[in-house]
């Protein structure tokens, strides 16, 4: 493998890691479509008031309103409160 290719590959790696890791920086710059992601997160929280069935976010097992832990996999039920 040539040194040139190796260097270019390394540069690509650095850029990729930097880009992928950007949301974890202490003061992430907000992007326009981060609103979309916030939308996802709120959509992931089961609506507490709705009569809809709730499901465990880890394994998808249906949850009763009283459940604090998933009876199937034990994941704590979060986002309720």
């Amino acid at each position: 493998m040539g040194t040139g290719a190796l260097l270019v590959g390394l540069a690509l790696l650095v850029v990729t890691v930097a880009y992928v890791g950007r949301p974890f920086r202490p003061n992430p710059t907000r992007e326009a479509d981060d609103r979309v992601i916030e939308g996802w997160v709120s959509a992931l929280r089961p609506a507490a008031d709705s009569g809809r069935a709730r499901f465990c976010t880890a394994c998808g097992n249906p949850l009763a309103p009283s459940h604090r832990f998933c009876p199937s996999c034990g994941t704590p039920v979060v986002g309720e409160d």
Partner: protein, 834 residues
């Protein structure tokens, strides 16, 4: 350097795709937006890296980097630039790289989805899409790396397979790949629906993607059929080859999924169906790749039997496992909320449509694997040819078209029989009209009559649907009917675009009936100047010539075609020979008309050029197929067009929306006009002259002129004698060579009632006089000024010699130089025993 960077870029993309799957699922579990963002960024990064890899592969082709094995195998120095771009997907490795790129790119597009319905499903869908993408990237990198290097550098590559050197190759494979990768989206949304338990909403969330996949897959299949028709030279467009079937099956399932989705959105029914259909359509994409790569399917195409197939088999097994487990866990939620209405309802019709579509898919599947299947069952190996597929799927397609016609009649549900009776008049009239039209124009076979009836019925129903809807809107809103029709498309794109798709299918059905039951073909061996007839056409072989292009030699045959004794067209089919490939490519010549295409392929030309063998195919109604395909795709495009009604917009946004819509409209119309022009405007080796030669047996056109010595020369004066008319020019060497032969024959026969006339075409009088004097020509010679006579005789060059019998009819035509012996033979036979 290029290749190594490409490899590294692919490897990084694999890492990014895997990370995206992990980060997104972790983010979902923790409901942490940072992880979700990071996963999304990883998908963007993977898309960029694979885009870079594709670009680098293209660069390797451009720079003729023959150390790269893939470039060596599929390119050469002489290859034209646009073909170097298409060579990217000419082989397995490159097409997999392109596939991976598109697969990841579509995942990146999906995560941008913002609609209310998509929001709760997108995170999980992105996980599934990232896994699928990673699988393809992994297969590309580890098993089929297009950047693999050869130990030595070759001076030149092996060149692109001649069959792929066609402009159709620019669009056909990428269109198919876009269709394939997009079918992963409804699958991913279905799985996301199962995981999150929101099984009701996923079809609506995935709908645009399903439609997009369907349109592109349809486009790919359509372009492939047209490419086969244009290039493969067998006069057909669909041979039920396993490779074609591999593209057809997912398309059929996607069609079913689109219909099932409509009902789920409307009434909440067909939930299980839709899950199964989404999984199946994705499975058939994998199956097609698996089957054609693993040797499971016997195909006429040359397939490498690589281990690749088994990785696909494994991935299919995983897909089945995951979807079955998820479906079983959600079976309670999948139960329909609504009780199905009766069979004679919109629901019932859709149900039957789905059943028939799946039955067709199953038939095609069984036909494709029949050799392996019968082998496994321990019997004799049986294989299904085109007749088998035609016989099995033909009636099913007919039922499908019938359902298309009946469904709008039934409406939401059939309240009463009287309603049906009231609405059935137009369709029945439509069926009768089409049957009568078919019989009158000569398509009266019993089987096809049934087909035309069904087609007419369905067509009339759909047209009625448009008319009544437009009319009622026009009445209600006091608009012009045309404006109403326009608004119908604007308001309910899916519905009316869908009807347009149905009209396309109906047009295609006409083409299919025509080509499947009325097509004729035959091989003709033609000696120069001797006419032969087939299918109502008469063919005359004129000449063959050779031309060289940048990367190939073309042998071009020239044939004049007559119908009912009248000149019709001149066809010039080609036989292209590519150095370094034993495969010749026959480029057919086409005479296109709405009633039928005349399709002529040059098979061979004898060594001395005196005779040629052609294959003639008459394809009735085939243009309805192409037209229907265009209409179908236009309908699909309308249905997939983003609706502007739903979103409230500011004035600036709506202005921008208008601009985008207008630009899209112009672009779309432009594409369709271009496609139509490619298919139906000139080219295809057909050209029309002012007139053709009179055929043997026809009366020769009269002429009246003055010979060089001043005496009048009238054909009508020569009645009762055998006349030899020779068209020539002083600047033409063969003409000069044959003059002494003509003179000597004339001298021998002049006393037996034979007249010779020389007509100097496109020439100067002094030169003609000089040459006739020098060569001692004593029979009358006249100037054919402005080729006035030559054009009535339809000659295509000099010399040409017509031998006319005593009644003034053409007995024999010699195109090119004639020998004394040939002329003597002709004259002897005309003069009989004298």
């Amino acid at each position: 350097m290029i290749a190594e960077t490409g490899s590294l870029s692919t490897l990084l993309a694999l890492g990014a795709a895997l990370y995206a799957a992990l980060a997104s699922s972790w983010g979902i579990r923790r409901r942490d937006s940072r992880w979700l963002q990071s996963g999304r960024n990883a998908l963007y990064a993977a898309t960029g890296l694979l885009g870079l890899a594709v670009l680098l592969l293209f660069l390797a082709f451009l720079s003729n980097d023959f150390q790269v094995s893939y470039v060596y195998q599929h390119s050469s120095l002489e290859l034209p630039l646009y073909l170097k771009a298409t060579a990217i997907w000419a082989g397995q490795e490159g097409s997999l790289l392109l596939w991976s790129f598109l697969q990841v790119a579509i995942a990146a597009l999906v995560v941008r989805g913002t609609s209310e319905k998509q929001r709760p499903l997108t995170p999980w869908a992105s996980v599934f899409l990232a896994v699928i993408g990673a699988f393809f990237v992994g297969v590309t990198f580890f098993l089929q790396n297009p950047f693999r290097l050869l130990p030595t550098v070759a001076a030149n590559g092996q060149g692109l397979s001649p069959l792929l050197r066609h402009p159709g190759m620019v669009f056909h494979p990428p269109a198919l790949y876009v269709g394939y990768v997009a079918l992963a989206v409804p699958f991913a949304f279905a799985m996301a629906g199962l995981v999150t338990g929101k099984v009701a909403d996923w079809p609506a969330a995935a709908r645009r993607w399903t439609l997009t996949a369907w349109v592109f897959l349809g486009l790919g299949i359509f372009l492939g059929a047209r490419w086969a028709y244009d290039v493969l030279g067998w006069g057909g467009y669909w041979g039920w080859d396993p490779v074609e079937n591999a593209a057809l099956m997912p398309w059929l399932v996607a069609t079913a999924l689109l219909h099932g989705s409509v009902l789920q959105e409307e009434r909440g029914t067909f939930r299980t169906w839709n899950i199964v259909l989404a999984v199946l359509s994705f499975l058939f994409v994998l199956f097609g790749t698996f089957a054609t790569r693993s040797g499971l399917i016997e195909s006429v195409h040359a397939f490498g039997r690589s281990s690749l197939g088994y990785y696909f088999l494994g991935f299919m097994a995983l897909t089945v496992l995951v979807s079955v487990v998820l479906t079983l866990r959600r079976r309670a939620a999948l139960a329909s909320t609504a009780e199905p209405r009766g069979l004679l309802s919109r629901e019932g019709m859709f149900f039957l449509t789905l059943v028939v579509l799946m039955a067709i898919t199953a038939s095609v599947f069984i036909g494709s694997v029949l050799p392996s299947l019968t082998d496994a069952l321990g019997g004799r190996r049986l294989e299904a040819g085109p007749e088998w597929f035609d016989r099995v799927t033909g009636p099913q397609f007919a039922v499908l078209v019938l359902l298309m016609g009946v469904c709008p009649l039934v409406g939401q549900s059939l309240a009463s029989l009287r309603r049906l009776r009231a609405r059935a008049v137009v369709p029945i009239v439509g069926a009768l009209v089409l049957i009568v039209a078919a019989v009158i124009t000569g398509f009266g076979k019993l089987g096809s009559i049934i087909g035309f009836g069904v087609v007419g019925l369905a067509g009339a129903t759909i047209l009625m649907e448009y008319v009544t809807a437009a009319a009622s809107r026009s009445r209600r809103l006091d608009e012009s009917p045309l404006r109403s029709l326009w608004h119908l498309f604007g308001r309910n794109r899916r519905r009316y675009g869908g009807y347009l798709v149905h009209i396309g299918i109906i047009l295609m059905a006409i083409g299919v009936i025509g080509t499947r039951s009325y097509s004729q073909e035959r091989d003709l061996v033609l000696a120069s100047g001797d006419p032969a007839s087939f299918g109502g056409y008469t063919f005359v072989y004129e000449e063959a010539r050779q031309e060289s292009a940048a990367d190939h030699l073309s042998l071009i045959g020239r044939f004049t075609v007559y119908r009912d004794g009248a000149y019709l067209v001149t066809l010039q089919p080609q036989l292209q020979q590519y150095p370094g490939s034993e495969q010749n490519v026959a480029v057919p010549a086409l005479r296109v008309s709405l009633k039928e295409d005349l399709y002529v392929v040059l098979s061979s030309v004898s060594g001395d050029g005196s005779s040629a063998t052609i294959r003639v195919v008459v394809d009735p109604l085939v243009n309805f197929l192409w037209l229907g395909g265009l209409v179908l795709l236009a309908g699909g495009a309308i249905a997939v067009w983003p609706s502007t009604q739903l979103q409230r917009r500011t004035a600036a946004e709506s202005r921008r929306g208008m601009v985008v819509t207008a630009a899209g409209l112009v672009l779309g119309v432009g594409i369709f006009v271009a496609a139509g022009a490619v298919m139906w405007a000139g080219g295809h080796g057909a050209s029309v002259q002012a007139s053709g030669r009179p055929l043997p047996g026809q009366t020769a056109p009269g002429f009246m002129t003055t010979s060089l010595d001043g005496s009048p020369l009238r054909l009508s004066d020569m009645a009762g004698q055998v006349v030899v008319v020779n068209f020539w020019s002083t600047w033409c060497q063969p003409c000069e060579d044959e003059l002494p032969a003509l003179q000597s024959v004339w001298e021998d026969y002049r006393d037996r009632g034979v007249l010779f006339v020389g007509l100097a075409s496109n020439d100067q009088e002094p030169a003609v006089r000089a040459m006739t004097e020098r060569l001692g020509v004593t029979y009358p010679v006249a100037m054919d000024n402005n080729e006035a006579i030559a054009s009535t005789y339809g000659i295509t060059g000099v010399p040409e010699t017509f031998v006319l019998d005593r009644e003034g009819r053409v007995a024999k035509v010699h195109i090119g130089q004639v020998s004394a012996d040939q002329l003597r033979q002709d004259l002897d036979s005309l003069l009989g025993g004298q």
